[in-house]
Amino acid sequence: MSRNAHGEQGDFLHSLRRERAAAFRQEIVPYFRYVIQSGFGLFASAIFFATLIWYTDLIKAVPDDWPSKWVGAIVLSLAALRAPLRTYLRPADPIFLLAMENRVLGQYIGGALRRAIFAGVLRTLVVFALYAPIYIRSPQTAGLADAHPPVILAALFALLAGYNVYAGWRERRAAARFWRIGLKAFRLLLTVAAVTALLLKSLASSILLAAVCMVLLALLWRLPAQHALPWERLIEEEASSRRKWMGFLSWFVDVPSETAKPSYRRWIAWVGNLIPWSKRWAWHYLYVKVFLRGDTFGALWRWIIVTCIVVAVSGSALADAIAFGVSLVVCGLQLSELKRVRFVETADTLPLPPQGKLAAAASVARWSGIAAVAAIGAVGPATAGLGGSGAGEALRLDYWLAAIAFGLLWCGWWMPRKIAKFRDEDDL
């Protein structure tokens, strides 16, 4: 093929990705009007300003027992570890673009990767910029900060973040799932070790450790069998990103539903088998299985785990109760997704009353909400008095009971009621 034709292909692929990214933005941006109108904007603003006030107070005088070492290691590790890659690839792409796979790698994926690296570096620098004042002023880390110039640390974290995004791409290329999971787990360990060392150990030795970690990862990438371009994985990942956006927006407004790829989740899917074998419970059985293997439950249980960790380590009774309340609001919104479960054509031909669908969806949402309240509610008393430095505040029963009551009302009564009364035949 002539150089001219190569150039045309490259331009086409470059503009294709840009057009798709712009089309996605144009698709979702109009929905944000409804998100803001729903009161979420107000809620997010309240959270933002409350956090800003708390942060300003904190950096003015960081308490002696504030766990700045571990907070820094955790938040910077989380910021550096994220390695998403928006490719905007579509299911038909392997058919039409396979013939120019090399060009796709260079012009299309290369462009996406550069943007992802830029975003990862920027994200990590923002997190470091927020953390640096704490690092410098906290009694626990002030001594370390003297030996770690912030500019050098920022550059090192930026490098680490960019490397993580590239490492994420190399993981995706591994053909075997075992290798993908293994490489990811190894990257997680090495990144946490490198971030922790950069913050808490001598700069020279920690730079050496980070370099060794990066070289080690680069060597590991050579071991597994690899795809030049993992089409199916990238298409699946792109669909998942779309689903997450649409899932978020669907909390506030009706959006086109995206079919989620189910997860087997053997560890929890067995719960559906506890439902009595009876025609009366058939819709419940279906909803439980669909829910437990779907995206909604995936987001829900991770959210519950994060909340439990926050409650366990925060060391403040008020912060615990607020985290509990906010978490339950989100849980309730996630559970409201059950009203939009779409059924296959043949479901309408079975001898089951169609009106039983929403009643079953509401029932599943209710019990899931109550389970979420119970799970987070139990963590508070179980971890009271812990806190980051081990000297946390004792549990305030009044706060805690209020949060539980709110959770039961929101997730156990109000949201199921909304689901049961949902009226949009197109969505049933």
């Binding site: 074998w277 058939a282 293997r293 054509e345 309408d348 079975l350």
Partner: protein, 263 residues
């Protein structure tokens, strides 16, 4: 207009009377179609693409409301006894239509629960069907790990699990391997022997010629021929020993087209 009438006698599993229907009242797809299907019979539904086979099936399933005429399953219309009507039908669509979040075994459990089957009997039947369709090892698999043919087997297993009064199957042989086709034919013979009536829509006319008690031929929403395979061939003027059902079908369509052109 030709009207399909069951000739084997016995209780009618399906009775369609003067059915006119489709998506739009202005342009109906079906025009006054009548037919009956008795228990234990296998009725082959034949027609070109767009002849109205799928629309007819949707009307029988109660997914579309007739413009006029009526559809009775096990003696009742959908309005008269929704529970009896629905629980008397089991359906296998042309395209496998499975819940992505349910395993094969869970699909069978849900179907059994929906039809009110007893647990022990349902599992005994499910195990037998899994063996027939060589799906025993796939019982714990989610649909996205199955091939199209295997998904079709799951649909068939679900439908056959129920042993309904009326089994409707749309293009059952597409995507199936030869052993699965043999297993399906055996399973259909078995449920027929137990009294299930089968409405089978297919373009594989040689299979219908061998297995169907009767055939109905739809063309542009009208029933243009009905009878045993031999009678349909006679109606088409293809009664020679060498004539196949494909020849008869082609002749019937050409005659219908010619007739309409001359109208």
């Amino acid at each position: 207009m030709v009207s399909g009438k069951g000739k084997t006698g016995g209780e009618s599993a399906l009775a369609i009377k003067e059915l006119t229907g489709g998506y739009s009242r202005r342009r109906p797809v079906l025009h006054g179609v009548s037919l009956t299907l008795n228990r234990g019979e296998l009725l082959g539904l034949i027609g070109l693409n767009g002849a109205g086979k799928s629309t007819a099936i949707k009307h029988i399933l109660g997914l579309m409301v007739p413009h006029s005429g009526e559809v009775r399953v096990a003696g009742a219309t959908l309005e008269e006894d929704r529970e009896l009507y629905r629980s008397s039908i089991s359906y296998v669509p042309e395209q496998p239509s499975l819940f992505p979040n349910l395993t094969v075994k869970e699909h069978l459990q849900w179907t059994a629960m929906a039809y009110g089957l007893k647990q022990d009997a349902a599992w005994a039947r499910a195990d037998k069907l899994a063996a027939t369709f060589r799906m025993t090892d796939a019982m714990k698999s989610l649909p996205d790990t199955l091939s199209k043919g295997m998904k079709q087997k799951v649909m068939l297993m679900n439908a056959l699990l129920v042993e309904p009064a009326l089994l409707i199957i749309d293009e059952p042989f597409l995507g199936l391997d030869p052993l699965a086709i043999r297993g399906l034919v055996g399973a259909l013979d078995e449920v027929r022997a137990q009294g299930t009536a089968i409405l089978l829509s297919s373009h594989i006319l040689s299979a219908l010629e061998r297995k169907a008690n009767r055939l109905v031929v739809l063309h542009k929403g009208r029933l243009i021929a009905e009878g045993t395979p031999k009678e349909v061939k006679e109606q088409a003027g293809c009664s020679g020993a060498e004539a196949t059902l494909d020849d008869a079908f082609e002749a019937l369509v050409e005659a219908a087209e010619g007739g309409r052109a001359g109208e």
